[in-house]
């Protein structure tokens, strides 16, 4: 009796310790980034352009803006397509084509991001003869697409079919039923899927190397190269200049904060707009 309880307790303690150990790397990383990054964070970091090596100060405003532009382009490209695709495969579950799409989406998810970068390079950068924000955005969009398709499908699958029937039985058309009843009922799942996918691609570097390329200047033109936070971190941390290293730390801090905020937002969205059936 006594021994059984002791064994039980022991096991519990081991599990708790192991669980804490597994979160340790995350805590250490966060600690490191905050310690090194917070030093370079100030107002000018957000509004100024990067300075040539050797000069102090300077900021990453171009990269922040670039990241923003890239995400908007990626979103425009992937959200509509992803939601429609997810809706399609959840609506026509048993069709051959849905099976095929589902398979493609799964494979898509497994493609290394660098490969997507190269593909977009061949498809878009080569014909246009220039690196551009557009191509970078599309590369990120391609990465977001399978995530959005899957989260949409899974959300819609949880919506009872009786809801659709109720709407149809009231004389509503199929389109109205989907737009006014089914998609709103799944809005929290779809939205959090989108937010998660944004936070996933916000830190991507590889697909941007051959597409958005990077740009030390402010740029609003989507047909020109833009910088992004992960690209900037990649470039600056590879450089031999210590000033650039500290800027890279600062950028890492901004990026991490952005991703954490997105994650918190996702949680809030799915809690706030939770649909009870």
């Amino acid at each position: 009796m006594q021994r059984r309880i002791i064994k039980d307790k022991l096991f519990e303690i081991i599990i708790i310790i192991l669980a804490m150990v597994s979160t340790l790397p995350l805590i250490l990383i966060l600690f490191q980034i905050v310690k090194k990054g917070i030093a370079s964070i100030n107002w000018s970091f957000f509004v100024n352009l990067p300075q040539p090596p050797g000069e102090t100060g300077g900021g990453v405003s171009n990269a922040i803006l670039g990241t923003f532009i890239l995400i908007v382009i990626a979103g425009v490209f992937s959200i509509l397509l992803g939601v429609l695709g997810g809706t399609f495969i959840s609506e026509y579950k048993d069709k051959k084509i849905s099976e095929l799409i589902r398979l493609c989406v799964n494979i898509f998810q497994g493609i290394p991001s660098i490969v997507i970068g190269i593909i977009v390079y061949i498809w878009i950068v080569m014909p246009l003869h220039r690196f551009s924000a557009l191509s970078g955005g599309i590369a990120l969009g391609i990465m977001m697409l399978p995530l959005i398709v899957k989260s949409t499908e899974e959300t819609l699958r949880l919506i009872p079919s009786s809801l659709k029937e109720a709407s149809l039985a009231l004389g509503a058309s199929y389109t109205t039923t989907m737009l006014r009843v089914i998609l709103p009922a799944g809005i929290n799942g779809i939205l959090s899927g989108i937010l998660i996918s944004v936070s996933r691609v916000a830190g991507e570097t590889a697909p941007l190397l051959f597409t958005a390329f990077g740009n030390p200047f402010m740029n609003f033109n989507i047909f020109k190269p833009v910088d992004s936070l992960p690209l900037l971190i990649f470039n600056y941390s590879m450089s031999p200049y210590p000033e650039w290293h500290s800027i890279a730390w600062g950028a890492s801090f901004v990026l991490i904060s952005f991703i954490i905020i997105l994650n918190i937002l996702t949680k809030m969205v799915s809690r706030k707009w939770k649909t009870v059936f």
Binding site: D94, P160, S162, L163, E165, A166, S167, L168, A169, L170, G171, A172, S173, T176, T177, R180, V181, P184, A185, I187, T275, V276, F277
Partner: protein
């Protein structure tokens, strides 16, 4: 029963090669409660889903024959119009989860894009909720989500949603099978009362319920209409041997 509001004539329905309903002939008088009973899988639900043209939405569904609503073949009318005239309530309460109680009641109008002034909507909501005896319970929380209500209240809300469109017929597909006895009793009472304004077709596998609430009963067995007549007669002196056996619990 010659001049029924709804007449089903030589009607067959099924999926693919499987026939579910064979040669159904049924005339339904207006402002009465008609229950369709039978063991599970006998085609009760298929039959009422044909009446508001929901059956044909399923892949591989087929049918043959005519159903006349006020002497007009529903298969020659647009399904959207048919469904506005013939409302339906399902087994499990399913109010629209994103809509308030208020919006749920007028959802038929919202989803059909019918615009109307606020006062008119208020009137319809109150009138309909009173009809289903839900007004007193929800009048203070009209703008809360319908899914916060209890199961029985939700089902009454669903009946209200169907009634708000002023249908000629309302189809109830085992409306109490997901409810507790108390909520069931309330819905049954409601059914016997709403027949003043609408013809009710009730599908149930519960013979006691059919006996309690309906004026006429149809007994469906293996896709065939075995017997149809006044509930009093059918439950005391059924004409067909199969009805007798079903009612005495020999099968089903």
């Amino acid at each position: 029963m010659e001049n029924g509001i709804l007449k089903i004539l030589n009607f067959y329905a099924g999926y693919n090669v499987k026939t579910i309903l064979t040669n159904i002939n049924l005339s339904i008088p207006s402002n009465k409660v008609i229950s369709i009973m039978g063991p599970s899988g006998c085609g009760k639900t298929t039959l009422i889903r044909c009446i508001n043209r929901m059956h044909e939405l399923q892949p591989d569904a087929n049918f043959k024959g005519r159903i006349l609503l006020n002497e007009k073949n529903i298969f020659e009318t647009s399904p959207i119009l048919v469904r506005r005239k013939i409302g339906m309530v399902f087994q499990k309460p399913n109010p629209f989860p994103t809509m308030s109680i208020y919006d749920n009641v007028v959802s038929g109008y919202i989803l059909n894009g019918i615009k109307m002034p606020r006062i008119e909507k208020d009137r319809i909501v109150e009138e309909t909720l009173r009809k289903v005896y839900l007004w007193d319970e929800v009048m203070d929380s009209l703008h809360r989500k319908g899914t916060f209500l209890s199961g029985g209240q939700q089902q009454r809300l669903c009946i209200a949603r169907a009634m708000a469109m002023n249908p000629e017929i309302i189809l109830l597909d085992e409306p109490t099978s997901a409810l507790d006895p108390k909520a069931t009793a309330k819905i049954e009472e409601l059914i016997t009362k709403i027949k003043k304004s609408v013809t009710v077709i009730l599908v149930t596998h519960n013979t006691a319920q059919a006996a309690r609430v309906s004026d006429f009963t149809a007994f469906l067995y293996l896709g065939e209409l075995v017997e149809y007549g006044s509930t009093e007669k059918l439950f005391t002196t059924p004409k067909d041997k199969r009805t007798e056996e079903y009612l005495t619990g020999k099968f089903g």
